[in-house]
């Protein structure tokens, strides 16, 4: 048990790196910060791998995996039972997440050495990366839901800082603001969910909450608010928090804009790690959701399914390659949520849970690869747009190959990793909900189509007019590409069903040919369509777009969700709430206060008139007053 004490170092190293590079970074040459950060991250990575190795493979697990808490301390005490602890919790999903985060983060650190070279604020970039990694690691190893919330917020802020890295660009500033506020809104749901949960159960602790058959919900069933049970409320609200971070519909609007950040950031935060925090959260709370709030689980499944379809459709029409990838990320996150939504608990029933985690893992690898590849392309041609690209396979061979591998993986071509994980999600969906299965099946085809649309139009087709001949990226950038490509290829062979399961006990699965074969076929069909339409320059896509007219425009404009949100925030909140309140405050409330003063002044002015300077008036007043007093004394008081 105590053998894992070193795991505390995994998040602490990035924290130290953040403080060091953040405070001293300006004094050094930029590259020193970069190297320090990278080395620190490498150390964390190695430690994570050691942890994973000894946790998963270092012992006998017939009884299932133990939850280990090597370190825990009270951070803030609310009441005797309710306190926020800060600690390290190791169980299969957190260990898996440790590996994912440190791997991707390390790759991104390495990659950025080349990509960000010469940028202003290089040291700042590394400081923020370290901060983000620290927060993300703290999030996944949280021992209680409040620790998770703490790091959840920190992750949000680091994301804000990194999206707004190019802070002189108004679009980047706007995007960072949007990301923060949208997720903040979702976090409010999360917070209220936590409050309800803690009120009902009297604890924040994951151990107590997720223990199967626990008694802490005993009194909870009877509590309800507006006809819905307290726990359903709590879980739905917590899911809203997760949906905000994971950009589920309708809180997805921040993610495409977040692509304003530097590309490595998109790879790290907005593809591989932070956006899966929502999925992770749902997975973490899974026993509670599944047993106590089945309605909430339904919601999760449907939201996930809808998001994946919705995003896949939009992805088809986008031209900014990073946005295509962003919508693809949305779509894949939808997959993961859906898998959790349709999962049962324990053994085979928990296939969805396992599949979700599995897909999270493989998706992290291949999506990071895609983004880093896209970064490499952007680095070469200095544009984000597909119509500025074409025929790049000659100039960027390594990028080309790795990108192709990633595309094949996401399209679910066997035996690449994406095939396995997606297949299991489909199986789980088929067992629980036919409708969602159909949706996912369709999305699988769409995914293959839009990815290959991207692939063909970038790497094939005619050369464009480039400012200078595109050239392959430096070694620091291509090594991560290659590593991730290898990971994408082989990750599928990891025995996830023995390692990461809902009840921490391994189970056996087999290939479901009935599902696998059609899904591969539809993937291939998608690829073929893309090949026909985009392999060579042709007018067909244009024509298709014109034929679908309105629908195309709507899709291209992401179904106008941004505009709706803008309307709500700018028009309603600013003009119809905030402005009237400001006015009300200035004129009514303050007016009232000032009015008291004015009335006093008016009265004083009136009274002043009596002080006329006319001696005889005073005399009259004096005598009349005396007489009045005398009268009243003589006739009324005596």
């Amino acid at each position: 048990m105590t053998g894992y004490a070193y795991t505390i170092l995994i998040p602490m190293i990035p924290l130290v790196m953040f403080l060091v590079t953040g405070l001293l970074g300006m004094k050094w040459k930029p590259i020193v910060s970069g190297l320090l950060g990278t080395i620190g991250m490498g150390t964390s990575w190695v430690l994570s791998l050691i942890t994973a190795g000894s946790y998963f493979f270092g012992g006998h697990h017939a009884e299932g995996f133990q939850t280990i808490i090597p370190f825990e301390t009270t951070w803030l005490r609310f009441t005797e039972t309710l306190h926020i602890n800060i600690g390290v919790l190791l169980d299969p999903i957190s260990v898996m997440m440790l590996v994912v985060i440190t791997t991707i983060s390390f790759m991104v650190h390495l990659y950025s050495l080349g990509y960000m070279k010469g940028e202003k604020g290089f040291a700042r970039f590394y400081a923020f990366l370290s901060l983000f990694t620290f927060s993300m690691l703290g999030l996944v190893i949280a021992t209680n839901i409040f620790q998770m919330y703490i790091f959840w917020e920190l992750v949000g802020v680091s994301s804000f800082l990194l999206i707004g890295f190019y802070y002189t660009k108004p679009s980047a500033v706007a995007a960072s603001k949007k990301a923060f506020i949208v997720t903040r809104f979702a976090d409010l749901g999360f917070l209220i969910g936590i409050l309800i949960l803690s009120f009902v159960t009297g604890t924040f602790d994951f151990g107590k909450l997720t223990e199967p058959g626990t008694a802490i919900f005993g009194s909870a069933a009877s509590m309800s608010f507006m006809g819905i049970s307290a726990l359903t409320w709590a879980m739905t609200l917590i899911f809203i928090g997760g949906a905000g971070k994971s950009a589920m519909f309708p809180l997805h609007i921040w993610l495409p804009d977040a692509m304003e950040g530097p590309t490595p950031v998109s790879a790290l935060i907005h593809a591989a790690t932070m956006v899966v925090a929502g999925v992770f959260l749902v997975a973490r709370m899974f026993p509670v959701i599944h047993f106590q709030a089945p309605d909430a689980q339904e919601i999760i499944g449907y939201v996930g399914g809808f998001t994946s379809l919705f995003a896949a459709v939009i992805a088809i029409t986008q031209y900014d390659i990073k946005r295509v990838l962003a919508f693809s990320t949305l779509s894949q996150l939808g997959y993961m949520m859906l898998a959790l939504g349709v999962s049962g608990y324990g053994g085979e029933e928990g296939l969805g849970y396992m599949a979700s985690m599995f897909h999270l893992f493989t998706h992290a690898m291949f999506k990071a690869l895609l983004f880093l590849g896209a970064g490499s392309i952007i680095h070469a041609v200095h544009s984000n747009y597909m119509y500025d690209m074409g025929g790049l396979r000659k100039y960027l061979p390594i990028t080309h190959i790795t990108f192709l591998i990633a595309c094949l993986t996401i399209a679910g071509v066997p035996p690449l990793s994406g095939f396995f994980s997606k297949d299991e999600i489909l199986v789980a969906a088929l067992h629980h909900n036919k409708l969602l299965f159909a949706v996912e099946f369709l999305v699988a085809g769409l995914t293959a189509f839009y990815m290959f649309r991207l692939y063909f139009s970038v790497f094939w087709g005619k050369d464009r007019h480039y400012h200078h001949t595109p050239h392959e990226s430096p070694l620091t950038m291509s090594i991560p590409l290659m590593f991730l490509a290898v990971a994408s290829v082989f990750a599928g062979f990891l025995p996830f069903h023995h390692l990461v399961t809902s009840d921490k006990m391994g189970f056996d699965t087999e290939m479901h040919m009935a599902v696998a074969a059609p899904s591969v076929l539809i993937g291939l069909f998608g690829i073929a369509m893309a090949w026909i339409l985009y392999k060579k320059e042709s007018a067909v896509p244009e024509k298709l777009a014109q034929r679908w007219g309105i629908l195309y425009t709507a899709t291209y404009n992401k179904f106008y969700f941004d505009e709706i949100y803008l309307f709500v925030t700018k028009k309603i909140i600013f003009n119809y709430i905030s402005r009237p309140i400001a006015w009300f405050d200035r004129h009514i409330i303050d007016g009232f206060m000032v009015g008291i003063g004015l009335v006093t002044e008016k009265i004083a002015y009136q009274i002043k008139g009596m002080q006329s300077g006319q001696l005889q008036h005073y005399a009259f007043m004096f005598v009349a007053g005396t007489l009045a007093l005398a009268l009243s004394l003589v006739y009324f008081l005596m």
């Binding site: 005889q616 009259f620 005598v623 009349a624 007489l627 009268l631 003589v634």
Partner: protein
């Protein structure tokens, strides 16, 4: 005879008082005031306070009225006739006077005074002089001294105030 004289003096006092404040020529007002004061002195004589009456004649009638007449001569034209007073002021003044007088008279009539039965103290100059400068019981040396200081102060004040300023432009 006494009774007749009393009502005579009272009549003079009341009528002349009224004329003092109603006449529109200021010098006449001063003369009416003099009449009032003289009649008052007459009342003092009747009450057997000769010293008091003498003081009244010399100080009041002789001193103050003369002072007033001098100041009238300094500040007004003899033939100057006042305007009629404002109606508002007239109402104010008359109403207070009537109400006040009514109130006071009603009060004093409803009150019965117990006439003192003690023997009358002869009021001659010796008694007055002794009492005025005595520190014993019934001695008034302290007010006497105060009055003398007050008079001195008033005299100096009057001189200072009325003195012509050397710098003619400067204000009071």
């Amino acid at each position: 005879m006494n009774v007749f004289l009393f009502y005579l003096f009272s009549g003079i006092i009341l009528i002349c008082s009224l004329l003092t404040i109603t006449t529109r020529k200021i010098l006449r007002a001063a003369v009416y005031l003099l009449c009032v004061l003289l009649a008052t002195a007459g009342l003092y004589f009747m009450l057997n306070y000769q010293f008091m009456a003498a003081v009244q004649l010399t100080l009041y009638a002789g001193g103050i009225v003369v002072l007033i007449i001098f100041s009238i001569l300094l500040t007004s034209h003899i033939s100057h006739r006042f305007k009629h007073p404002d109606l508002v002021k007239l109402i104010m003044g008359v109403s207070t006077a009537v109400v006040g007088a009514g109130l006071v008279i009603a009060t004093l009539l409803s009150h019965s005074f117990q006439a003192g039965s003690a023997p009358e103290l002869p009021v001659d100059m010796t008694v007055i002089g002794t009492q005025l400068l005595s520190t014993e019981k019934n001695g008034y040396v302290l007010p006497f001294e105060l009055i003398s200081i007050l008079l001195l102060a008033a005299m100096i004040a009057a001189i200072v105030i009325a003195k012509k300023d050397k710098n003619k432009n400067s204000e009071i």
